[in-house]
Structures are given as structure tokens and as C-alpha cells.
């Protein structure tokens, strides 16, 4: 302790200064309002907890239904899976040659693109010509 008694502020001065002035009186704090606010905040927390529990229960119920369905009607599930696979195979059968052509075209794609642009240009020219001669 390095401070000497004379180096510190007088206690009486400190007490007088810290005392509340007349215009510093505390506002009235309403215990009822505080309680109501605390209950409202508690209610919202409870609602959040209920929502989380509901989500969890929904997941459990969905998993249970799926398990039950699998157990009770395995042929139905197998049929659905087989049908889905057939659809996927059919789509793949159509897409595969298109993908091959796109990957290794017999005619360069740039040539096809140039042809397409030329056709569009020609069509536009003809349309403008017909429009001029009609008016």
C-alpha cells in the first residue's frame, strides 16, 4: 500500500458528492411490469422450445411411418423403387446419344452454328424485303 492518508480524497467530501441530489431521485420501477415482462419473455422461450420439440417429433413420426411401410408392404416399396429406376434408365437412354454427339460431333459444332446464323440472317433479309415491297 503506497498511498498515505493525506494523498487521498476526504471521505466526507466523497459521501456528500455521491449522495443523490433532489433532481436525481430514482424513477418508480413497477414490480408488476417487470414480472409481466419476464413472463412474456419466458413465454416466447417456451414457444421456441415447443416448436423445436414439434420438429423433432415430426421427424421421428416420418421415420416411423417409412419403417412401418417398409415392414408392412415390402413389395410396394420395391415396386416404387423399380419404377423410379426404370424412369431413370429411359431418360438416360435418350440423353446418352445426344451427349455423345455433343462430345464428339461428326460435323464441327462451329460449322453448325455458322450455318444457323446464316439461315437466320437470310430469313431476316427476306422479311425486310417483303415488308418494303408491301408498303
Amino acid at each position: 500500500m503506497t498511498e498515505q492518508r493525506g494523498d487521498v480524497i476526504d471521505e466526507a467530501i466523497l459521501r456528500r458528492a455521491l449522495r443523490l441530489e433532489h433532481d436525481e431521485r430514482a424513477p418508480a420501477f413497477d414490480a408488476g411490469a417487470i414480472a409481466a415482462f419476464a413472463r412474456d419473455a419466458g413465454t416466447s422461450r417456451a414457444a421456441l422450445a415447443v416448436a423445436l420439440i414439434a420438429i423433432g417429433l415430426t421427424g421421428v413420426v416420418a421415420a416411423s411411418v417409412w419403417s412401418l411401410a417398409s415392414a408392412a408392404a415390402p413389395t410396394l416399396i420395391d415396386g416404387l423403387v423399380a419404377l423410379a429406376l426404370q424412369v431413370v434408365v429411359a431418360i438416360a437412354t435418350v440423353l446418352e446419344p445426344i451427349a455423345e454427339i455433343a462430345a464428339e460431333p461428326a460435323v464441327p459444332l462451329s460449322l453448325l452454328a455458322a450455318l444457323g446464323v446464316a439461315i437466320l440472317h437470310e430469313l431476316r433479309e427476306r422479311r425486310e424485303y417483303a415488308h418494303v415491297h408491301a408498303s
Binding site: 498511498e3 494523498d7 487521498v8 466523497l14 459521501r15 443523490l20 420501477f29 414480472a35 409481466a36 419476464a38
Partner: protein, 185 residues
């Protein structure tokens, strides 16, 4: 917000048989002191009101867990002091980010005051500003000692520090206040 709550419902069930102090009684009895402690720690009325409200809200939520064999006044003072310190830290961070223009507006008016009482009041205000500017390590014991008139042992119980430490912090706080006031005069 509906404020239909009657005070009778504010008596926690767990203490209905053993305790005579309800939350409403505690608020009524101690709100002035809690607000005063927060005001002297923060040096700002709005912030002190905020700190007191938060402290009372926390107290209400913990009321049923509170050990009523201990003085409710000390328990509430501890919550209020902690809330005031928390708010003070946030305000300090915000002030550090803000421009110095606001600080310039808060510069104390050094023009001559009209009469003796006004001079005395200005002197008290200087001391209060110096207290509010103390490091929080010293500010809380100083406010609890010289505003709430608690003993060193009571302050030690509230702050969770050893009595000897509180004694040193009070002395050091008073020394800092003196040097701060001498520097500003």
C-alpha cells in the same frame, strides 16, 4: 403489455411459508439505492435506469433460487453493480467508436457560477464525474462504500473479493480521485 399482475402473485411459491419479503417489497424498498449505485457507477441517468431495470428483471427471474437467509439488499446490489459495469463497458466501446464531437459537447462548462450553492453543486458534480471515470476495479467499491455506506466486509461479500483487497482498492480509488481532481482544477 397488460399489467394486471397483482402483487400477491409476485410472492414466489417456494418462499411463501418461510419468507416475508416479496419481490414487490424488495423493489419498493431498494429501488432508490439500486438506481443510485447504477447512477454513480455510470454517471448517466438513462443508463442507470436501464441498468436498474435489467437488474430487477434478473432478480425476478432468479427470485425463487435466491437464498433468502442472506440479505436481499446485498444480493440486489451485486446484480445492479454487475449490470451497471456491463452497460458501462458497452458504452465505453461505443464512445471509442464515435466521433469526438459528442465528447466536445459534454465538456464541462467552466464559466463562473452565480452563487455559493451552485459552486458547491459544481464541485460535487466534479467529484461524481471523477468517480464515474475511475477504473471499474475501484469504482464499484468506492460507490458501495461511500454511496451505499456498506462496510468493507459487506463489499467483499458482494464483490467476491477478499476484505483486504477491498480495503486497498478503496484507498487506491480515493488516491486516484484526489489526483484526478487536482489535475482537473
Amino acid at each position: 403489455m397488460a399489467l394486471q399482475t397483482s402483487f400477491s402473485t409476485l410472492r414466489p411459491r417456494a418462499f411463501a411459508r418461510t419468507a416475508h419479503v416479496t419481490f414487490a417489497d424488495a423493489v419498493r424498498e431498494h429501488q432508490d439505492e439500486l438506481f443510485g449505485v447504477a447512477l454513480r457507477i455510470l454517471g448517466d441517468r438513462d443508463a442507470a435506469q436501464d441498468a436498474t431495470s435489467r437488474a430487477l428483471l434478473k432478480a425476478f427471474r432468479s427470485w425463487e433460487r435466491y437464498d433468502q437467509t442472506r440479505p436481499v439488499r446485498h444480493w440486489l446490489l451485486r446484480i445492479a453493480a454487475n449490470e451497471a459495469i456491463s452497460i458501462g463497458r458497452v458504452r465505453t466501446r461505443d464512445q471509442q467508436r464515435s466521433t469526438s464531437a459528442e465528447a466536445a459537447l459534454e465538456t464541462p462548462d467552466r464559466s463562473p457560477l452565480p452563487d455559493e450553492s451552485a459552486v458547491a453543486r459544481e464541485e460535487r458534480e466534479r467529484v461524481r464525474r471523477a468517480v464515474a471515470a475511475l477504473p471499474e476495479l475501484y469504482r464499484v467499491p468506492v460507490v458501495l462504500r461511500y454511496f451505499s455506506e456498506l462496510s468493507v466486509e459487506e463489499i467483499a461479500a458482494i464483490t467476491g473479493r477478499p476484505s483486504s483487497t477491498v480495503g486497498v482498492q478503496l484507498l487506491r480509488g480515493r488516491a486516484l480521485l484526489r489526483s484526478s481532481l487536482e489535475a482537473s482544477s
